[in-house]
Symmetry: C2
Subunit: 218 residues, 2 copies
């Protein structure tokens, strides 16, 4: 009963778009996310539904079942372990790994993943700060808040980044922002919600566009 590459990609997209299974995902949102057409999504949705991986109410979107969530988390686990490998062992920059992990996540071999996990020292987060589900699919999410919801005077640390777009990650690299780094909010402009922050030792201005994609500790 193992899933095809397409099925895995759909399941993962549904899981992510549903925000970990908390809200239903609409057909067009999935089509956008997977760069495909709504009609194709409807077709695949029916198949996943028959296999009991998602629940589907016609016209009102889908969500993962318990079974589907387990499968999605396995794929996410593989994706994040491979990303970690690529950055930590092969010396890739963090903005280069997503596309490659998108392929590697579909390699089928439980033993491979076990051994990779061990080789990497059982990491709990990937290079983007995203938590890595364990072998049983359990995922420990650290409390985290989008930086745009933070007020002046805040001191904390970056936990993760939301966007996996390469240009965004390159920009973060440039300003020295990555998971683990300390961050302070010096001032916040009421008009456009842009911010002046200190990351590492550097003072930088960031727009709301950026701050909403940076997740920080409480």
């Amino acid at each position: 009963m193992s899933l095809s590459l397409a099925e895995e990609n759909y399941l993962k997209a549904i899981y992510h778009l549903s925000e970990d299974g908390t809200k239903d995902v609409l057909t067009n949102a999935l089509a956008d996310s997977l760069s495909t057409k709504a009609a194709s999504v409807t077709d695949m949705i029916k198949k996943l539904s028959v296999k009991n991986l998602i629940s589907y109410k016609k016209y009102y979107g889908v969500n993962v079942t318990a079974k589907g969530k387990r499968q999605a988390l396995q794929v996410i686990r593989k994706h994040r372990l491979w990303e970690t490998f690529l950055v930590q062992k092969l010396d890739f920059a963090w903005d280069e790994v997503h596309e490659i992990a998108e392929q590697l996540e579909h390699i089928e071999s439980p033993r491979l993943i076990e051994k990779l996990d061990k080789f990497l020292g059982y990491p709990t987060v990937d290079p983007h700060g995203d938590p890595i589900p364990n072998g049983k699919g359990k995922i420990v999410i650290k409390p985290q808040i989008p930086l745009d919801q933070i007020e002046e005077g805040y001191k904390g640390a970056i936990v993760a980044v939301k966007d996996s777009d390469s240009a965004f990650l390159k920009y973060l690299e440039k300003i020295g922002a990555k998971p683990g780094k300390k961050i302070q909010v010096i001032s916040k402009e009421a008009y456009d919600e842009s911010m002046e922050v200190i990351v590492g030792n550097q003072k930088v201005f960031i727009s709301k566009e950026v701050s909403k994609n940076i997740l920080v500790t409480e």
Copy 2:
């Protein structure tokens, strides 16, 4: 112009069965090797032929073109680098890696392969002793002879093994035979061509079935 997974598998099988492009490969041989049906092979052959990756004479088999050989060698390069990674870094036994490499060889990312190669220290042979083509597809084959063609009194070393069957590799493991190990032929039975050999420090009897799949130095 990148190839599909199926195309890559066919091309690699043709290259191997043709013994590095030296003889034509027949439809049924290909079907056996790929665990598919002759009719499917004929279909795919036509496609590869149109793409100028193989030359095809109806009813008389196929062989790789220069272009096809280049592509096949790239896939083989990836396969053998991944096998090396699995054994050297992830601590897999050498009989466990073939199936996984069969999947990993299709991951598309030139940068990944470059970096993997570097990470492994630019190995020249894989865990089975098979040469790893370099980035340009150049392959250095060490002189090697099947052990069954060797006579009494021979002293040399194992260069590679032919069969990637797991049971065969496990057997070799048991008798301590692997690429790099020294080997001597103590005696050879004329009747069935079985041999008494010393591998490492151990004296063992091996059948022709085994000796023909062990490649040794001259």
